[in-house]
């Protein structure tokens, strides 16, 4: 299973990057607990900032951007994490999702993570990103993960953040497994902070067996064997 994080980490070693790494780790272990092998990859939108503004202005996609969009197309699940600025995920992050191809997330489970200074920003991901990702045909899991300053500095905050991460990751992996016809046991069940062998499925079904059902990559649009025949266009 390919897990991809699309994260906008504006500074080196940001809390956004830390949150992203924690979610990836939790998703990877949830996958392994469900008997699925997982490989995780990471795109930092910061590194695409000029490419994104160039594309917004000129319409052309740089090779870096093409590569990132292709990674999204090839991923099985997406984790998207960004800092919240003025009650919305930072514009650079939304720009990435605004410029990607229509239906780029078809059939892909998506997990929304956000960071911010205070819990008052906690619904920013819900309000702004959830509809955007749904528009792209992503299947956004019910639990979103928001991490405020408190969550990093206190024992209680840290525990509850970890619980949210575990919950959301299990939802993500459980959904991915069922979409692909793999029995992931009870891993999509309610949060269980002690989740371990007990709740892990023993199924070792190969993930992506029904790969044909995964969303077609954008390359298919240009595949001579899959193109809509012109006679059909002529009929209207």
């Amino acid at each position: 299973m390919r897990i991809l994080s699309i994260t906008t980490s504006l500074s080196e070693d940001s809390t956004t990057l830390k949150l992203s790494n924690k979610i990836i780790a939790a998703a990877t272990s949830a996958a392994e607990a469900a008997g699925l092998s997982a490989e995780a990859d990471h795109v930092n939108v910061r590194n695409l900032s000029s490419d994104l503004t160039d594309m917004a202005l000129t319409g052309f996609r740089s090779e870096n951007l093409e590569a990132a969009f292709a990674q999204v197309a090839e991923a099985d699940v997406i984790v998207t994490v960004a800092p919240v600025y003025k009650v919305a995920p930072v514009g650079l992050h939304t720009l990435f999702w605004q410029l990607i191809d229509e239906k780029a997330l078809a059939n892909k489970p998506v997990l929304i993570g956000s960071t911010g200074g205070t819990p008052r920003h906690s619904l920013a991901g819900e309000n702004v990103l959830r509809p955007m990702l749904s528009y792209l045909k992503g299947i956004v899991v019910p639990t979103t993960v928001f991490a405020a300053t408190d969550d990093w500095g206190s024992i209680e905050g840290g525990r509850s953040l970890n619980a949210r991460i575990t919950q959301a990751s299990e939802e993500l992996i459980g959904l991915a497994a069922s979409l692909n016809g793999v029995d992931a046991g009870s891993s999509a069940g309610p949060a269980d902070e002690d989740a371990d062998a007990d709740s892990a499925s023993t199924t070792t079904g190969e993930f992506g067996r029904r790969g044909a059902r995964r969303n077609p990559s954008i390359d298919n649009e240009f595949n001579p064997d899959l193109i809509t025949p012109f006679a059909q266009l002529l009929e209207g």
């Binding site: 000129t58 052309f60 595949n223 001579p224 012109f230």
Partner: protein, 392 residues
């Protein structure tokens, strides 16, 4: 191989001195550029079609092309592009056929949809119907140029009853048509279906993408039985600025690039040069870059350069034409001819199209007997009959 230039007719303030030429001057400059193109030995001049400032490319290109035809002898005159979405196909059929007669067959067209949203409603159209408009309008145009007393009914214009275009095309052979599109596979498919040419403006996007569009067109051209994939008719654009020393070229062109319409204030000149076919440098660099197009596009038929935009002074543009004519085009001609398989056709001309027509070799839209498309249709029809038989 046809080598030439194409213009979008923008009236842009020269960023180095703040002057803006009048529309009148820009229009006359455009005619001068076209005449100069013939004088320095280029094959093609192509103009865009525009309905909005800051452009004075003609709203009806045959007006400009006929004027240039009257002042030139052998230059091929083309569009890049004719707006097939918002222009009545009946008027396209009539006006371009008229210009074709006046120019003794030197006219060709590149069809485009137009990406300026506001233009569509001015003509009672909707940009969301861009592809269906291109499909229906071209199909009507195709018939208008080949049939008499047409009865026709469609979604986007009033019906026609017993309509015949006047004048009919010169020698009963319509002007050659290319279909241009930056990223819509439907248009590459359209070009292949009819056995027409496919043109990619090759200015804004990485060659990896352009190559994908060209390959799609080539393979579908073969599928429809108009020839092998490597024989499909491909045209490419490109954008160049040249000085003897490449550093001088970069220094002189940078302010124009940075403030250009469309991509100005966006990517850097360096990034744009790496990621797209833009070449700013010495004539030798332009030669090498242009020859490299063949590596990903295959042997192709038409290469057009954009050289006159972004507020460049007329004097500079004419100098660019001199460099193209003296140093670039002769080398490109020679090099493109090298290792070119004998069965790769040249760019179609009126003369070659007349011969093709008289020999009964006109492409059959959708593919005639012997093509894979034809075989697929037969197989599908047979399958349908079988199913119907079983039902009974």
């Amino acid at each position: 191989m046809e080598l030439g230039i194409f213009t979008i007719g923008d009236v842009t303030t020269d960023p180095t001195n703040g002057t803006t030429v009048s529309e009148n001057q820009r229009i006359k400059n455009t005619v001068e550029i076209a005449k100069k193109a013939e004088e320095v030995g280029l094959d093609v001049f192509a103009t865009g079609q525009h309905h909005n400032p800051p452009f004075v490319a003609p709203a009806n290109p045959p007006v400009l092309l006929a004027n240039i035809a009257a002042q030139t002898k052998r230059l091929h005159l083309s569009t890049a592009t004719t707006l097939i979405t918002t222009t009545d196909p009946v008027r396209i059929a009539e006006d371009y056929a008229y210009a074709q007669h006046l120019s003794e067959g030197r006219i060709s067209l590149v069809m485009g949809r137009g990406n300026t949203g506001p233009v569509y409603p001015w003509f009672g159209k909707d940009i969301r119907s861009g592809i269906p408009l291109a499909v229906e309008n071209y199909n009507l145009l195709y018939r208008l140029w080949r049939e008499k007393n047409i009865d026709w009914e469609g979604k986007f214009r009033t019906p026609l009853n017993g309509f015949t275009v006047t004048p009919t095309p010169l020698d009963d052979v319509p002007p050659f048509v290319w279909h241009g599109s930056i990223r819509s596979p439907e248009i590459a498919e359209q070009a292949a279906y009819y056995g027409d040419g496919y043109f990619h403006n090759n200015i804004f996007w990485p060659v990896s993408h352009t190559a994908r569009m060209v390959q799609l067109y080539r393979q579908r051209y073969e599928y429809y039985g108009h020839g092998a994939a490597h024989q499909a008719i491909v045209g490419l654009g490109g954008q160049v600025f040249m000085r003897k020393n490449s550093q001088d070229a970069v220094k002189e062109f940078r302010p124009y690039f940075d403030n250009a319409p469309v991509y100005g204030h966006g990517p850097s000149l360096e990034d744009f040069s790496t990621q797209t076919p833009l070449t700013v440098g010495s004539p030798q660099q332009v030669i090498e870059r242009t020859l490299s197009f063949r590596d990903w596009a295959g042997d192709y038929q038409r290469q057009l350069f954009l050289i006159d935009h972004a507020g460049l002074p007329q004097k500079t543009v004419l100098e660019q034409l001199d460099i193209l004519g003296e140093e670039v085009v002769p080398v490109l001609r020679k090099e493109f001819a090298k290792d070119r398989p004998a069965d790769v056709p040249d760019a179609p001309t009126h003369e070659s199209l007349v011969i093709r027509h008289r020999e009964g070799r006109d492409p059959i839209p959708g593919g005639g007997p012997g093509s894979r498309a034809y075989a697929d249709r037969q197989a599908k029809a047979a399958e349908k009959n079988d199913t119907q038989g079983a039902d009974r």
